[in-house]
């Protein structure tokens, strides 16, 4: 089969790879039709996540058609059109039994500090991902769901991570009616978090980024008020002034490990890999939220330390909430919102590339060329 393969930092290619096989009785093999490149895939692509091995296939956002199922699979059959949550989870461990699917203890042999994801280094389990013609999906009775007839493939694709994560981020913010919510980052997760904040009754939603084309999307897609931090001397002071010197009630970090805005933080983290991530957005969130406010962290960070301003968080009495989103837990409610017409997830998709051109897709997304917000990889037919 053809598959994207990592060759080292900033280098990937498509090559012939051995077909995945059933390795456990509850596995399924999915023939991928569409995959997406996630902002957190760029951390792997840039060589930031420990134990990212040459030969691995990335991709934790994908939809497809069931090709083969293991002997114990009951809920899927070949031919079913399915969406697969980014998390791999067993459904029965202490954490899964409590809905914390992203913290499953039975799927990541390499670390207990993280659950497992498709195509996201051995630090999260060493599973190949879906930027390929076929992919092994463990626990087929637990993770994947048949896509409803009425739901478009690309909308389903956004449900596998970006939409579910953005919505989850807004939930962790514990938003109450009339709250001011500031979202750092106008990428896919930030856009969905901003949109979701309104569902939860926010009175004001502010989005911060440095890319004007993404801020334009935040205004049109997420109805948000926007600021470009490059055009402002000090974004934290600006947010205080804009909120009557209060600060926001809730801040959502939808940027993560490669945040810009402070060259030293960015270079030590993203270029020299001496931090688990550049915590610029997180530090801005801590400083711009009001005392007693809530920080929700959706941006991905690596397992090494980062220079985070915990003193300010402690002295301000902040609540810091974070986790990898348990994607499937969000799906029933999100399907209702899509069906009701409250959101159309694929409105954030800006680029579509065939699998053979995936190296270009990564570069365009990484370098933010051509107004790119979300690239989708077209792998096969339905």
């Amino acid at each position: 089969m053809r598959a994207m393969v990592y060759r080292g930092p900033y280098k990937i290619r498509v090559e012939d790879k051995q077909m995945p096989s059933i390795e456990h009785s509850n596995d399924a093999i999915i023939r991928v039709t569409k995959a997406a490149v996630c902002g957190s895939d760029l951390h792997l692509y840039h060589g930031m996540m420990p134990d990212t091995r040459v030969g691995m296939t990335f991709g934790h956002e994908f939809v497809g058609v069931v090709h083969e199922v293991g002997a114990s699979v009951r809920s899927l059959k070949p031919g079913d059109r399915v969406m697969v949550p980014a998390n791999i989870y067993c459904g029965s461990c202490f954490y899964c039994a409590r809905g914390l699917y992203s913290n499953c203890h039975n799927v990541n042999a390499n670390a207990t500090a993280a659950g497992a994801l498709y195509g996201y280094s051995h630090t999260v389990g060493g599973y190949d991902g879906g930027q390929a013609e076929y992919v092994r999906v463990p626990f087929a009775d637990v993770g994947p769901s048949v896509i409803p007839e009425w739901l478009d493939d690309e909308d389903a694709l956004m449900m596998t991570d970006a939409l579910a994560t953005g919505y989850f981020g807004a939930q962790l913010g514990e938003i109450t009616e009339g709250d001011t919510v500031v979202v750092f980052g106008a990428g896919p997760v930030g856009l969905f978090a901003a949109k979701s904040a309104w569902f939860m009754g926010a009175g004001r939603v502010i989005v911060i980024d440095h890319l004007n084309y993404r801020l334009e999307k935040a205004r049109t897609f997420a109805h948000a008020e926007t600021y470009n931090f490059v055009e402002i001397d000090d974004i934290v002071v600006h947010l205080k002034r804009a909120t009557d010197y209060f600060g926001a009630d809730v801040a959502i970090d939808a940027v993560g490990a490669e945040a810009d805005g402070n060259v030293i933080q960015h270079v030590t983290a993203a270029k020299l890999k001496l931090q688990g991530g550049s915590p610029v957005a997180l530090n801005w969130a801590i400083d711009s939220v009001r005392k007693g406010g809530v920080i929700s962290v959706m941006g991905a960070y690596g397992p090494i330390y980062s220079a985070i301003k915990f003193g300010d968080a402690m002295n301000k009495g902040l609540t810091l909430r974070m986790n990898q989103a348990p994607m499937k837990r969000q799906w029933p409610r999100l399907l209702e919102h899509i069906k009701a017409g409250y959101l159309k997830p694929n409105e954030i998709v800006t680029h579509r590339f065939p699998l053979e051109d995936i190296a270009e897709a990564y570069h365009v997304f990484s370098a933010k060329l051509d107004g790119c917000i979300k690239p989708v990889i077209i792998v096969g037919d339905q």
């Binding site: 389990g125 569902f199 004007n212 370098a367």
Partner: protein
């Protein structure tokens, strides 16, 4: 103002927000939010028909964190440990996850892994190609210049480092190979 007891009112009323934003307030009640409460004990909700999963056969010895009691019942088989980078990674897996050394050794092994595979690719019919594999050709057909110039992007200030990170090791490697070659040639001539 935070100097007085009351919170500032948002600029728009709920009615105005409801009229302007599709779905405003539909999840206002935390009971409508799927991740509230954070933990909800419901083992039957996942579709799992086991209490502990059947074990995936370990056909190749599989590394695991020392913080796990045993190899997890299911695990990834994407890229088993091999070569020099595999030995380094094995060292890292002897350390607990709290140790920075564990992760820094793994990052070091990642760089060794890339080098091993670059070198190995030169004895195959498809050697690594830094031009096609970096997708840099998209600079020419996806508005590489106009996407950056005049856009006030914060990242443009450090983009110059990317080619050094990508090409730097190749240049150093080529330089080292040439130096070694010249040294060997000089030694041969002096015999």
């Amino acid at each position: 103002m935070p100097y007085t007891p009351n919170k500032p009112q948002p600029p728009e009323t709920p009615e105005q927000l409801r009229a302007r934003i599709p779905g405003w307030g539909v999840d206002l009640d935390p009971k409508d939010r799927p991740s509230v409460p954070r933990e909800r004990f419901d083992p039957g909700a996942t579709g799992a028909h086991w209490e502990f999963p059947e074990r995936q056969p370990e056909t190749v010895p599989r590394e695991r964190s020392v913080e796990h009691q045993f190899l997890t019942p299911v695990f990834g088989t994407s890229a088993p440990l091999k070569w020099c980078s595999g030995r380094i990674r094995r060292m890292a897996y002897r350390l607990g996850e709290d140790r920075a050394a564990r992760w820094l050794i793994l990052l070091g092994a990642d760089r060794v892994d890339a080098w091993e595979n670059h070198l190995a690719s030169f004895i195959t019919l498809r050697p690594d190609n830094p031009v096609t594999q970096t997708g840099v050709t998209s600079e020419f057909n996806h508005h590489g210049v106009s996407s950056r110039v005049g856009q006030q992007r914060a990242d443009v200030r450090h983009h110059w480092m990317d080619p050094i990170i990508v090409a730097g090791p190749w240049v150093v490697g080529a330089g080292a190979a040439i130096a070694l070659g010249l040294k060997a040639a000089a030694r041969f001539r002096n015999r």
